[in-house]
């Protein structure tokens, strides 16, 4: 009996996934639990394990293709068994659509056929003729005509905006985009060979490695730009004396307790406590509404070799330090091995990011949308400070809070950060 392998539904919000790579090829013998393929969603990548032993008889969805959840991806058979794909189980590939959506300027005649979403771009004949002449990707043109039609003046406005002065073949445009080459207006049309020549010349000069932006890097790039663009960021800094927090950590981490909590674990607990008094900081601006969240879900930024992922600890205010520590360790580990579920990296209401272990004293973290603030944690360093008129040496830590000024004013942010500092300097206030 063949085992059919489907695109998994990794959490409630996942609707489709992309097969990035098959790690096994047709005919390979696989054991249960072996990694068959790498899958990505718009949030994470995930390794697809073989649900049982068998032979990978048929790969139905090729690399780079995007299909809905539960779509048939492949089938495992017992040795000697034949497997036939029935027509109605073969998923409709969405690759054409997603490729069209991500590729560069497309020639007008292809644009006239159905594009993403199945809707035609309405364009008047003269506008179309001018767009074709100027090699303009009409999907980038703002339509102001009746019934949403692109009309002559829209193309003229587009041309006047200078966005389109570049004359390039579709292939050249796409290559330029992939290699991050900025094309400039030229007399003749820029062709594929021009880009190749340029890249060869550049390679000779720099021997640079060029990697197309895709996968999780692309997601990070998009999310960072989006946050930076929509939210006016302000970062404030405040130093905390860590004497009491260090002492607290020592007391918790006694051999008897079996615990080994980190400063991040302690900060997570304290920040959650501080947020209970600052509902405006634990809020989001969504579709013109200020949403004050009922739960405090803290994202903990985890650095991977080549990426960044933020697992979310849910309902932190109700958790003890031991539970928080265990969850963070588990999620960080699973983040590093690509085994997080999409629901575990969404739903955050505030994020903590720690660069202290790298010796950083201050930075300006970017808010993890749609949250409205993020706390940057720095190193603990012994410093001379003045206490009651005397210079003494104390372990000090700088806290860097970035906040979205649309929702949070400077004074509020300062009071919140002051509260975190106060809790760090006197953890006993947790019980107040």
């Amino acid at each position: 009996m063949a085992i059919e392998i489907q695109m998994p539904k990794l959490g409630l919000t996942m609707e489709e996934g992309t097969v990035v790579r098959w790690l096994k090829k047709e005919g390979d013998k696989v054991n249960a639990g072996e990694i068959l393929a790498e899958i990505t969603t718009d949030k994470i990548s995930h390794e697809l394990e073989a649900p049982g032993d068998g032979i990978l008889a048929k790969i139905i969805v090729g690399e780079g293709k995007t299909v809905p959840c539960q779509a048939l991806l492949a089938a495992l058979t017992s040795p000697g068994e034949k497997y036939e794909v029935s027509e109605d189980t073969a998923p409709e590939e969405k690759a054409a659509v997603s490729q069209a959506a991500t590729s560069g300027p497309v020639e007008c005649k292809t644009v006239a056929s159905p594009v993403a979403g199945g809707s035609r771009i309405k364009i008047s004949p003269i506008a179309k003729a001018l767009a074709k002449k100027g090699n303009i990707d009409i999907s980038l043109v703002n339509a102001t005509g009746p019934e949403g039609r692109i009309v002559l003046k829209d193309i003229e406005a587009y041309l006047a905006s200078g966005q389109s002065k570049v004359k390039a073949s579709p292939v050249a445009s796409k290559m330029a985009e992939e290699y991050s080459v900025q094309l400039e207006p030229s007399e003749s049309r820029i062709m594929k060979k021009d880009i190749e020549q340029l890249m060869n010349a550049k390679s000779a000069a720099l021997l640079a490695e060029r990697i197309p932006l895709r996968g999780i890097r692309k997601v990070i790039a998009e999310r960072m730009s989006q946050s930076w663009n929509i939210a006016p960021h302000v970062t404030i800094n405040m130093e905390a004396d860590m004497t009491e927090a260090m002492s607290l950590r020592e007391k918790i981490n006694q051999p008897k307790s079996g615990l080994k909590v980190s400063y991040t674990d302690i900060l997570t607990k304290l920040v959650a406590h501080a947020l209970t008094s600052f509902p405006t900081v634990n809020a989001s601006l969504i579709n013109g509404e200020i949403v004050k969240h009922s739960e405090i879900n803290l994202g903990i930024a985890v650095a991977l070799d080549d990426a960044l992922i933020v697992p979310v600890i849910k309902n932190v205010a109700s958790l003890g330090i031991g539970e928080i520590s265990a969850q963070i360790k588990d999620m960080a580990e699973r983040a590093r091995t690509n085994k997080l579920m999409p629901d575990e990296i969404s739903g955050g209401t505030f994020t903590i990011t720690n660069l202290g272990m790298y010796g950083v004293d201050s930075f300006t973290p970017i808010i993890n949308q749609p949250e409205s603030a993020i706390l940057g944690v720095n190193r603990i360093v012994e410093k001379p400070v003045v206490v009651k008129g005397a210079v003494v040496v104390r372990p000090m830590m700088n806290l860097s809070l970035s906040f979205d000024h649309r929702l949070i004013d400077g004074a509020l942010a300062a009071r919140f950060l002051g509260k975190v500092k106060e809790l760090l300097e006197n953890p006993a206030l947790l019980f107040v």
Partner: protein, 324 residues
């Protein structure tokens, strides 16, 4: 320039041409004794005699047939149809004889007949006496079709039609006869096949002709108040259509509205829209709009009669819709 009525302008054209060329004569129902129902023949019998201004029996077949025969015999007859609607009675004479003879005889003879055809809606003349049938005539190779909208062109086109060696259907809107306008004295000719750009503009081309020209111009004024510059073209000749003027205008404005009193379905607007779609596709910035009479027989009821026609507001709204 002096101002005379449309009716007087046609009378002047008749008199001048009859004076100039003794082969020109006119015949029709009630034209000599009564002077024509719109006064368009008044005084002609006294001046040229009833041999050249002839009352005829009520038989369109006979009149048009006699006109074709006279033209073949070397005369230049003007045949008055009384109502354009009555051409139907003489359709064989029009589309099988008049339109075909020059071609079928290899050009050995010409057929210089002018058929004067008063058309259009006026004062509840009802379904059989109100129609605009120029599109029928447009469909017949071998005929020329003209249709003035003002007294000057009424004179100019009638004189040009009389001098043309081909059969010409001359439509004259009944509601225009009493309208006054400046008309040049003496030998004033309006070229057949040449449309007139009455008002220049850049945002939309409105093509019309005959009585509806007034609505087109009125609409253009209203649009101007809203900052939209309409170019208004008086087609003047239905066949052959002046595509040069139309194409030039569409190249400039990129938008086209055609409005006429005749039924929209299969009308002159349909032909112009097709030509522009075929030849000027890459210049269009919006769908072409046709406005015409509703696809119904023209009602006798005055209230209903006014409902079937395109209005000035229809034109204004259509333009605003496509300009956006």
């Amino acid at each position: 320039m002096r101002e005379i009525t449309f009716s007087e302008a046609t009378l002047e054209a008749m008199a001048e041409e009859m004076e100039r060329d003794e082969r020109v004569f006119v015949m029709g129902e009630d034209i000599a004794r009564q002077g024509g129902i719109f006064g368009q023949f008044k005084g002609l019998p006294a001046r040229f005699g009833t041999d050249r201004v002839k009352d005829t029996p009520i038989s369109e077949t006979a009149i048009v047939g006699a006109g074709v025969g006279a033209a073949l015999a070397g005369m230049r007859p003007v045949v008055d149809m009384h109502f354009a609607d009555f051409i139907g009675v003489a359709m064989d004479e029009v589309f099988n004889q008049m339109a075909k003879i020059r071609y079928m005889f290899g050009g050995q003879t010409t057929v210089p007949v002018v058929l004067r055809a008063p058309d259009g809606i006026i004062r509840s003349a009802a379904a059989q006496h109100s129609q605009c049938i120029e599109a029928w005539m447009l469909h017949i190779p071998g005929l020329k079709v003209v249709i003035p909208s003002n007294p000057a062109d009424a004179k100019g086109l009638l004189k040009a039609a009389i001098r043309d060696d081909n059969p010409v259907i001359y439509f004259e809107h009944k509601a225009l006869f009493a309208k006054k306008g400046p008309v040049p004295e003496g030998d004033h000719l309006t070229p057949i096949g040449k449309a007139n750009v009455v008002k220049e503009g850049t945002d939309v081309t409105i093509i019309s002709y005959s009585l509806t020209m007034a609505k087109a111009l009125n609409a253009a004024e209203k649009l101007a108040e809203e900052g939209l510059k309409a170019e208004v073209i008086d087609l003047r000749t239905i066949s052959p259509i002046d595509t040069e003027t139309i194409y030039k205008s569409v190249q400039k404005t990129n938008r086209l509205v055609i409005v006429h009193e005749a039924v929209k379905t299969g009308g002159v607007g349909a032909e112009i829209a097709s030509l522009v779609a075929e030849e000027m596709m890459d210049y269009l910035d919006a769908p072409i709009v046709r406005l015409g009479m509703k696809y119904v027989p023209i009602p006798f009821s005055p209230a209903l009669e006014s409902l079937v026609l395109p209005t000035v507001d229809d034109i204004v709204q259509s333009v605003k819709r496509i300009v956006g």
